[in-house]
Amino acid sequence: MTEITTPDAIQLVAAALFAVGVFGVLSRRNLLIVLMSVELMLNGAILSLVGFSREFAHLPGQSEAGQVMVLMAMAVAAAEVALGLSIVIALFRHIRSVDVDAPRATLLRS
């Protein structure tokens, strides 16, 4: 086998993407980059679904389940980012910043 994209390689890349996303959400202070990191997490999960779906390619019925999930997840991710950006804009109108540590973004800290 000289194939480069073995299932395990796909899973490794997917896990790495997901981990980069988690790290981004936890470490970044800019809301837009946090949103991008969330998208990276979802993309990691989607890539892993694609990989598993390919792994089951020879089994009828099993491969399709993963592909359906990928399509659904992409639609959901698009809806989520649209809402997320609109909330960022709504918040920006109040605090004039997209930084989670902005001095005016402390209304709800107790």
Binding site: V22, V38, S48, L49, F52, A65, A73, V76, L83, V88
Partner: protein, 529 residues
Amino acid sequence: MEPMTELPFTGREAARAVPIALPALFGLVALCLDLFLPRGRSKGPLAITAAAGALITALVTLALWRGGGETLVIAETLSASSFAAALSITILLAAGLIAFAGVHHGQDAPAVATQAHGEFYALLLFATSGMLALVAANDLVTMFVAVETLSIAVYAMTGMDRRRARSAEGAMKYFVLGAFSSGFLLYGMSLLYGATGTMDLTRIAALPLADGRNANLAAMGGMLIMVGLLFKVGAVPYHSWAPDAYEGAPAAVTGFMSVGVKVAAFGAVLKVVTSLGEAKVFGAGPAWALWLVAALTMIVGNAGALTQRNPRRLLAYSAVAHTGYVLIGVLAVARAFDPNHPLAGAGMLDVARDATSGVIFYLLGYGVANLAAFAVLCHLERKGEDVDDLGDLAGLSKKQPGAALVMTLAMVSLAGVPATAGFLGKFWVFRAGIAAGDLGLVILALATSALSLYYYLQVVVAMYMREPGEALYAGEPAPAAPRSLDPEPRRWGSRLAYVVGGVLIVLLGIYPGERLLTLVVQGAQALLS
């Protein structure tokens, strides 16, 4: 490819999914109806549409999902069972009562932007649709789409008062953490799919997963799914969004999300725990993790509520604490599938069923009390501003005895005092917890419940033992401009909601009714057959 000769499902099966479609349909009706209402006027017709939608859906749900017969419909993606029906009742009650409670939101607000939005009703019903799909989901794809349907609608509702900074900020926090948890949920589902080759929870439950790569992969996937769902129910350490989102959102939205989202997500948690338990994916390790989460949730929730002065923040921490109590029941279900458990055997299945019935009833009792409390808070909104301090409730018993009485009933029920719905739910869940061998956890729950009386009764003290304009605590300066608590004659919707809530608290606590209890027990049997 051979030609498709067999339809994946029949029309009869598809008809059993109608309860999920109905709220969305009514949501579209509300959206269209909103176009014909003059701007800035009362949204009464929309509230009636939404409540009628919830009522009709409840009747259809009970007719189609209750009882025996085929339960798996539409290519096994949905389980139209009594379990889904029993949880749907609480969700639909929340949708119906909140539609009325929220109708006066921003009625006398100075700015047009904070006045009632017609979209509120459409989003409320879309979210309800997602919740019903979630409690009926029998498939990971359905579960994910349902979680996102309800979450996206609720994020938008949280940020509805976009001219108020707090609303936007609460929505932002809820959204970022919610989307973060969705990532875990999706990745966990992917790993579970990779281990089993199927998205169907029934098939996953029937799989013999021997040790090895697939069993580890499935266990990891299951844990990530649980993390994603525990975010939604607000369990510690995934609770940090709750106080901010609860405080930022308008009171009606908070009431809806504290009940609907929690009930639906607990339905999914129970489904996942039983399916993975039957597949032998969850053993003793995850059970201990769940034990720890339950203990921490009870401690952090109750301790956090002690110092709160804002009623919505107080109820947020109280909601976290209640998540902890419900987790005792979930843990009892998880223990039933642990082969090394000292009580393992046929008896544990009965314990698991009892725990599931307890959880279903607990969520109903908690839901009714929370809805009543938030309906009162909606009723007390003035000029688009919610009550932000417990001291503002001083003298409510004189100005509005009815509202004060319902608020008292809600607080007493949440604390778990006998003759209220909250007591029966707690009794049922704690009994199952003891039967499953978690005596220590139940003792902790009883101790934290006793502690919770302090902050629940603080609300009652403010209402009954302080005069209007008097400070809440001795030595504190009296408020400069006390809030008006005079009854407003036009607030029919929120009044109706809190009266219904108050009646239900007492009714469920004294005589829940045989038919309801049968439904609850049948629901548990449908989940653990």
